[in-house]
Each structure stands twice: as C-alpha cells, then as structure tokens.
C-alpha cells in the first residue's frame, strides 16, 4: 500500500528537490568538520558538565583548568606556544560525554583533555580515548579497579582515602562498630566492599558492620539516621563511613545535626564531602565530623596560600573555596606540562610514555609522582569539620601513599597490577604473568 502511494507520487515530484536537499546537507555536514587547529596554539580540552546535576561539582573544575592555563600562558605557555582551552558542556549526560570527547579530539584536535567527575562519565569516554589515542586527566577520587594507557588518575584510589580513614578511626577513636552508608553506585559499592574485607581482616565481626545504600539525591534521611542511632546504641563505639554522593549530603548532615548525633558520640567520616559541599550547610552542629582527602583548603603551606590567593583573585571572589579535585587538576596539569616540555612535543604517545616518573609539587608541601600504573602518590589527611565550613587537619599519613589501581582486598583484582612502563599493561596478573583482556 505505501509503496504504491509512493510510486504514484514519485512520478509527480522533482528529482532536483532531493538532489538539492541531499547535497546541501552533505556540504553542511562536511563544512562542520572544517574547523582546523590553529598551529600557534596548543589546544587543551575541558570536559566538565556546566549544566545538569553534576554542574554543582564540575563547574569549579572547568574554572580551575582555565585558571591554570591562564597562569601557564603568563609564564609564556608551553614549548613557546600559548595554551588555548576548548570548553564543551556534556551536560551531565553520559553518552554526551563520549560524543563531546570525540568532538574535542577529532574536530578541535586537542592535545590533552582534563575532565569527568563521575565514574560513569569516565567509563563512557574511555573507549573514545583508546580509539583516538589521546590523553585524559581524571581528577576525582574513585573506586579504582582500572588502569588505562590513555587515562591518568590524579584523584585518590581507595587505598589513598578509605583505608587510612578507617585506620584513624580505629586508632584514635577506638571504633568497634561500623556503618558503611553510601549512594547506590559503583564507587560506594566498591569502596564498601574493600572496607568490609579490610575491617574483617582487622577482626571486626559481621554483625558490627551495617551497610546501607540510598538512591541519588536522596533527601529524606529520617529513617536511616534513626537506624544509625539505633545501631550505634549497642554499647560499642560506632562510626559512620559515608560514601554518600554530593547532592544527598546536605539533607543527610542537616538530619544528623537535627537528630542530635554529635561527632563525639557517632563520628561520620566522609569521602565525598569537601569544602564545596559544606558551603551549603551550617556546619556548627557538625563540628568534629570527619572527612578524608588528599588536600584541604585549610592546610597552611606557602604553595597552598599562594594558590588560594591567585585563585580567588582570578575568580574575583574572595570567598571562593578550593578543594581536593582542584588540587588533583593542579598536579595533573603541571605533570602534563612537564612531560610535554620533557619530550618537546604534544604527541600523545610520547607524552604518555614520558608521564610516569614525572614529579610535580602538590599544594600540601609534598611532591607527587606519576606512577607506572598512571596513578599518583599523595598524602592522606583526616580533617575535622570546623564551625566555619573549613577542615581542621587532625591526622596525616607520615609520607606519601602510592595509589593502587587494583585493590588487594577484592578477589577479582588482588593479583593484578598496572604497569605501563615495564609490562606495558594495565591489568597484569602477577600470578599467571599474563596481561589480561584488552589491557594492552
């Protein structure tokens, strides 16, 4: 029936119509691709959500990179060329991340990309970076279990955040009973698995561990906070290890404060709550609750004070806070610059091979080093929330902790290592001496 209808009409319409339309479209398409990278600048891709749910966290990171590029250009750029930022908005939409990554690399011909926050966005762009062989610097603490040739992880791996925090609570606060509360996605899931295994290895009994997951942006915490209270009243010293994701934290802490859970009774140590998140809360009822990071704005070092000063000057906002992922970008950016200057080229292959071993000063007085598994060494700090929304560092690791791509505590990965220098492999099984799967 339709074929018929088309047939008899096909007679009546102009062949030129189609021709015009098609060629027009094609030309349009092709011309879009016409954008060429200017030769006198090095393009740097910025792939952070500026709208949608993740804008809350990611916008700051975009500004950070722009700030760093600005600073670098003041120093004369890199290899005598100015850096030029290419900003796109993946709008907190994961497929869009992949699409934008592709656009940055193929259309804008960027030399490196700084971006992503959530694990899913990273997973979504991974294939693109592998296929088009470019570089991604990923600045956020994450669940580990990954080491890719094209990705450099400047955020904390679980062993650079979770484990030290738990150790602190055991030693300093004599905690015997644990609530592992998290948002139901892969980072908390993995972290809690690791912690569960770790706690058991320290002789904590199953009934002294309570695990609870909540959906994204969970806003009604009455029941769960009450449960925590109940769980905490079993006589043993109890602490909450929170992997609750950004948005849900404000109502969570508000409920904690209102239900009168004081840090001295049940301390909460959080891995995703930094200065930015606290900016949304009145922290007075929360004084004493903890967070584990590799950087705190309140840390007094010349480098950090200068950074904060310049940053606030750049953003023209004397109240603008800094946080851990920002520092990660600072370290990553400087490492990339050093690597590029080392090999006198922005060619991804050369830079990727040059990066491991590169050292860059972090803002907390140490010097971080890029490891063969594309993670970096970082100090770990435990900070107590203060009344002014800042953190008071109550404990730090003696030295720098090397990031493990693969967690020793998980069956799947205890034998794996990532080594892009010697083994040229991201998931090398030390037992079987084989490089698994697609890793190479």
């Amino acid at each position: 029936m339709p074929t018929k209808s088309i047939h008899d009409i096909a007679a009546s319409f102009s062949r030129r119509g189609v021709l015009a339309a098609t060629t027009g479209l094609l030309l349009g398409l092709a011309s879009i691709s016409g954008a060429k990278a200017a030769d006198d600048t090095i393009k740097v891709g910025v792939l952070h959500s500026l709208s949608g749910t993740m804008a809350i966290s990611e916008t700051t990171l975009k500004d950070t990179i722009l700030f760093l590029i600005d600073e670098q250009n003041k120093k004369g750029g890199v290899l005598g060329k100015k850096l030029e930022a290419v900003v796109v908005d993946p709008a907190s939409n994961w497929p869009l991340f992949a699409e934008k990554a592709r656009e940055l690399i193929t259309k804008d011909k960027v030399a490196v990309v700084f971006g992503c926050w959530t694990s899913v966005s990273r997973k979504s762009v991974l294939p693109v970076f592998k296929e088009l062989n470019n570089i991604l610097f990923y600045p956020v603490q994450y669940e580990g279990e990954e080491s890719e040739r094209n990705v450099f992880y400047t955020g904390a791996a679980p062993n650079q955040q979770a484990i030290p925090a738990v150790d602190y609570l055991m030693k300093e606060e004599k905690v015997k009973r644990w609530v592992l509360a998290g948002t139901d996605y892969v980072y908390p899931r993995t972290t809690n698995k690791i912690l569960e295994a770790y706690l058991k290895s320290k002789g904590v009994a199953q009934e002294d561990i309570m695990i609870n997951y909540t959906p994204f942006g969970h806003s009604d915490w009455q029941t769960i906070v009450a449960d925590i209270k109940k769980f905490g009243s079993a006589g043993k010293k109890t602490a909450v290890v929170s992997t609750i994701n950004g948005d849900a934290n404000v109502p969570f802490y508000k409920e904690l404060g209102n239900q009168g859970i004081k840090a001295k009774d049940i301390p909460v140590v959080a891995f995703s709550v930094g200065e930015e998140e606290l900016a949304g809360i009145d922290t007075k009822p929360l004084v004493g609750h903890l967070a584990a990071w590799n950087y705190f704005e309140s840390i007094k070092t010349p480098a950090n004070e200068k950074f904060i000063k310049d940053w606030q000057a750049y953003t023209k906002n004397p109240k603008r806070t800094t946080n851990d992922p920002m520092e990660a970008h600072v370290i990553g950016f400087n490492m990339w610059v050093k690597a590029v200057e080392k090999v006198k080229s922005t060619d991804p292959d050369k830079v990727i091979d040059a990066l491991p071993g590169i050292e860059a000063a972090n803002l907390t007085g140490g010097t971080s080093k890029m490891l063969p598994n594309h993670h970096i060494t970082k100090p770990v700090f435990i900070g107590e929330i203060k009344g002014n929304g800042q953190f008071d560092v109550v404990w730090k690791t003696p030295g720098l902790v090397a990031g493990d791509a693969w967690s020793k505590e998980l069956d799947g990965s205890k034998d794996l290592i990532g080594d892009w220098v010697g083994k040229k492999c991201g998931n090398f099984n030390t037992k079987t001496n084989k490089c698994l799967g697609s890793g190479s």
Partner: protein
C-alpha cells in the same frame, strides 16, 4: 632560659597565692599539666585534662570550659597557656593572674572527638553542683555516658544536696552507671543499678547495659539481659510510632511541594513543568533574605523565615503571573502545549539561577527555633520537621478557606467550572487566570522556603520534587485539594513503612508501582468527580 624564668615566675606565683588564697602552692602537677596544653599533642592534652580536672584547683573549671569552646590559648614557644574569658579578658591558666593580652604566637588548643569526650566527662564531674539547673542536668548526663569511677564521690555528693527531681533521677542514673562498671561494687548495688537504668529505658540505657562486659556476677548479667529484652521490646513499639511520624513528615513535604501544582495543574489544567522551579525560586528567595540579614541585621536571623515567606510568595507569584500573561494564556484548552512551553521555561529558569547564584549549593541556615529535636516518649521529633508539618497544614487550610470564602476564590471556581458562563456573568476571566496561576506559583514559592530548611538549595532543587508532585496530584485526583492532601499523606506514610522493610530504593519503586496499579482501579484518582459532569 626557661628554667630560670619559671623559677622566678614560681616565686612570684607563691607570693601571689599567699595573698590570694592564703595557702601555699608549688609548681606542682597542676602547673606541669597546664603546660602540657601547649604541646599541641592530643595525648598530652588528654593527660592534662585528667590531671587538671582531678586537681580540685579553682582554675580547673575555667580552664576546661575554655578548652571546650576554644578559648584556651597556648603559646608553643613559651609553653605558656592562657584562658581568654567570654568577656575578652585573659588570665594566665597556670596562675590565674590577669594578663594584658595573649601573645600572637599563641593559638587555641585543638581538640578531637576523643578529647571532646574527656572534656565532657571532666566538666561533668566539675559542674555537678553548678547553680545552673541545665548545667547540672547535662553534667549528670555526661557522667552517665562516661561513667568513670572517679566521678562517683562527686555524684554522690551532688545527689545528697540535689533538690530538683529530674536532676535527682539523672544523678541517680549516673551513679547507677558508675556502680555498674565499678569492679568492687557489691552485687546488690549492681542489681539496683540495673533496675535504675532499666527504668530509664532509652537507647543510651540499652547501650550501657549491653556494654557491661563479662566480668559481672551471674545474677547481674541475668538481670541486665532481661532489662535489655524489656527495653528493646518497648523500643520496638515506639519505632512503629516513629515510622508513622516520619511518614507524616514526609507526607507534609510532598503535600507542600504538590499543593501549588494542585492549583495550576489540578484546577487550571496547566501541566506546569516549571512548578519545581517556582519552588526553587522560593528557596533562593530565602537564601537572599538570610544573606541580607546576616550582613545587615544579624539580630533578626531567627525571623528570617517569617520575612522570607511573604517575599517568596510575592516573588514566585509575581513570576507566575508574568509567565501566565506572557506564555500560558495563549495555550488554554491545549494543556499539552503548556507542558512543552513550561518544560522549556524550567530549563531557562534553572540556567538563569545557575548563572546568577552559581551552580553550587547555597547555605540556608535553620533559625534556632527550627534546629534540634525533642524527645516524645522514646521517639525523636526534630523541630524543623514539626514546623514544616504545621506550616503545611496552615497553608492548606488558608488556601481552602481562600477558595471557599473570598471573591477571588469564588471567581476561580466559576471560571474553572464554566469559563464561558463565568465570562458572560462579567467575571474578567483573564484576570482570574493570571491570579490563579500566580497563586499556585506563589504557594510553590512558599514551599521553597520550607524545603530550603531540609534540602539542598541548588538549581536542581525543583527537579527532585516535580515528579513526586505530579504523582501526588494525580493519585489524589486532579482538581481536588482534599485528594491532594490525602494522597500526599498516604504516599508519605506508605513510603516510610515500606522503607525499613524494603530499603529506600525498593520502597520508592514499590510506591510507584502501587500508584500505577491504583490508577487502573480508580482511573481518575482517589477523589474522582462522578456523573455526567465528568464525561459529557
């Protein structure tokens, strides 16, 4: 030369003390302890607290309380420690003599949670006999928690003098707690103790009893277990009451978020996807109000919400009217297109707020009367939730009254029931439309004020409520405020009773599925209009 210095200093102290208290004092354990505060080492501080608290020295209380609220300054170089009074005057912690000013090199002695606990314990035994009733009560409580043997004598001393009934019981419980853990307490004492604590019957009591350890006499252990049992069973009953309360509170939030929609969508038939953004605007209005108050008139902070409510209503309502005049009014009779337009609108509003206030959360504080909680029997009721519940009901009643008794309300109902007829009877329908939409938006704005107290104030605020709001309105029956009320509370309570069983996520899923099935049974919601009026 610190040694010489301290020597000279001591002689000075001596003379001073001779005058001051007419009893000799030497650079004894107290002074050494005080000096420890300057080491900025948590374990040293801990020791110091112990010694100072136990020293019986007059300065002990000022020092410890200063330590608690960060007024104890220590100079790491000179190892000198100062107490800065609440009045800004400072004294030397070791000697009690007034000092002109604390040197800049001195910084507040830092605490961590462990130290905060020992500070509480110390203060506990120190303030047991303070004239202030509340202080005494708190002291008793903290002794109950810490139950250190050293506190026994002070407690019994206080108990003997205490006249106030509630404090007496508190002290009794504190004493019982101590005895229960005192190794050399007699079995009889311990049994009494268990009974006292059982009588207290809350979760702290439970905690205490389940912590007594194994080295207890058999009879005591047995008594403790039975006590635990009975406390737990009574708490179990209370927990269902607690759930009901949580349900009501959640329901009130849902209602508050949905009630504005019940007007714009339920009454006017405008599928207002920008409803959530109206809520958000209300929340940001609150933020702005508080900012102004913080910077200009800090004293007024507790009234910030009272000021914010009318403002939020006006701002959101005004924007509502604007939207109605500029967009919605061209789309009457085609609700679907309002869906599209308002969806676009919500995108614009969100981004607008994002560009104006930045993408990050904004701090909206709870005024004092809205923070904290109180115990009702064994359930905790937080003030902000309670106020929100009352507030919601108030809004609902006022709205209902408004629709029923005011001229505008009458006109609204007339227009929504039969536009043509209303128009022919000389009602300015367009004006009524604008006002109705404004009213709906305004109420959404008010909701924003309340929600700012429990949730993020961020550009995404609205998004998280829009779907729930639609569910509530549809579940209750479009065009029926009572339906919205019942719907909201039903969903809230159901959700809260499901949550402990199924967990937060499955609970929410279950609720959604229930709504879907329910709509099959009642295709027009809980309170559907019947008869030909609906159909023809």
């Amino acid at each position: 030369m610190p040694t010489k210095l301290s020597a000279r200093f001591c002689s000075f102290v001596l003379s001073l003390f001779l005058i001051a208290f007419a009893l000799p004092a030497f650079a004894g354990p107290f002074e050494d302890a005080v000096a420890k505060f300057a080491n900025d080492d948590f374990s040293d501080t801990d020791e110091a607290i112990g010694v100072v608290a136990g020293s019986g020295n007059k300065l002990a209380f000022p020092i410890i309380s200063a330590l608690q609220d960060g007024r104890l300054m220590a100079d790491p170089d000179t190892k000198k420690v100062y107490v800065t009074g609440t009045d800004g005057k400072s004294i030397d912690a070791a000697t009690g003599e007034a000092v002109a000013s604390v040197p800049d090199s001195a910084s507040a002695v830092r605490l961590n949670n462990r130290l905060r606990r020992s500070v509480d314990a110390a203060l506990g035994s120190l303030t047991l006999q303070s004239p202030d009733l509340v202080a005494r009560l708190q002291a008793a409580q903290s002794v109950f928690k810490s139950h250190e043997e050293t506190a026994l004598d002070p407690v019994e001393g206080a108990l003997a003098k205490e006249t106030n009934k509630s404090v007496k019981t508190a002290l009794g419980e504190a004493r019982a707690a101590i005895l229960l853990f005192k190794s050399d307490a007699t079995e009889v004492q311990k049994l009494e103790a268990v009974a006292t604590i059982k009588a207290r019957g809350d979760q702290d009591a439970l905690a205490l009893l389940s912590d007594i350890g194994t080295d207890q006499p058999a009879s005591v252990a047995k008594a403790a277990t039975s006590a635990i049992g009975s406390i737990q069973s009574s708490l179990a009953v209370w927990s269902s009451v607690q759930n009901a309360w949580y349900g009501l509170s959640l329901g009130s939030v849902l209602l508050l978020a949905a009630i504005g929609l019940a007007i714009t969508f339920g009454v006017m038939g405008v599928i207002n996807m920008a409803h959530g953004e109206m809520v958000m605007i209300g929340a940001y209005t609150t933020f702005v109000v508080q900012e102004v108050i913080r910077t200009r008139y800090p004293a007024l902070f507790d009234y910030s919400l009272l000021i914010a409510v009318p403002l939020a209503f006006l701002v959101a309502g005004g924007i509502g009217v604007l939207i109605e005049r500029s967009i919605i009014r061209f789309l009457y009779g085609r609700p679907l297109e309002t869906l599209l337009a308002t969806w676009g609108l919500s995108l614009v509003l969100q981004q607008a707020v994002r560009t104006m206030f930045g993408p990050t959360n904004r701090e909206v504080g709870n005024p004092s009367w809205m923070s904290g909680a109180f115990e009702l029997g064994q359930i905790t009721i937080t003030y902000n939730r309670l106020w929100i519940l009352c507030f919601t009901l108030a809004v609902f009643v006022i709205l209902l009254a408004m629709l029923r008794y005011t001229a505008l309300g009458l006109e609204m109902r007339a227009v929504t029931q039969n536009r043509r007829m209303a128009a022919s009877m000389g009602i300015a329908t367009s004006r009524v439309d604008a006002l109705t939409f404004g009213l709906g938006s305004g109420i959404a704005g008010i909701a924003g004020v309340a929600l700012s107290q429990i949730d993020n104030v961020s550009p995404n605020l609205g998004q998280s409520y829009i779907i729930d709001s639609f569910m509530v309105v549809v579940f209750g029956g479009v065009g029926n405020l009572w339906g919205t009320l019942v719907g909201a509370f039903t969903l809230g309570v159901a959700n809260k009773f499901l949550e402990p069983v199924a967990g937060a996520v499955l609970g929410k899923i279950a609720i959604l599925v229930l709504i879907i099935l329910f709509i099959q049974k009642r295709p027009r919601g809980l309170f559907a209009l019947k008869g030909r009026a609906v159909e023809a």
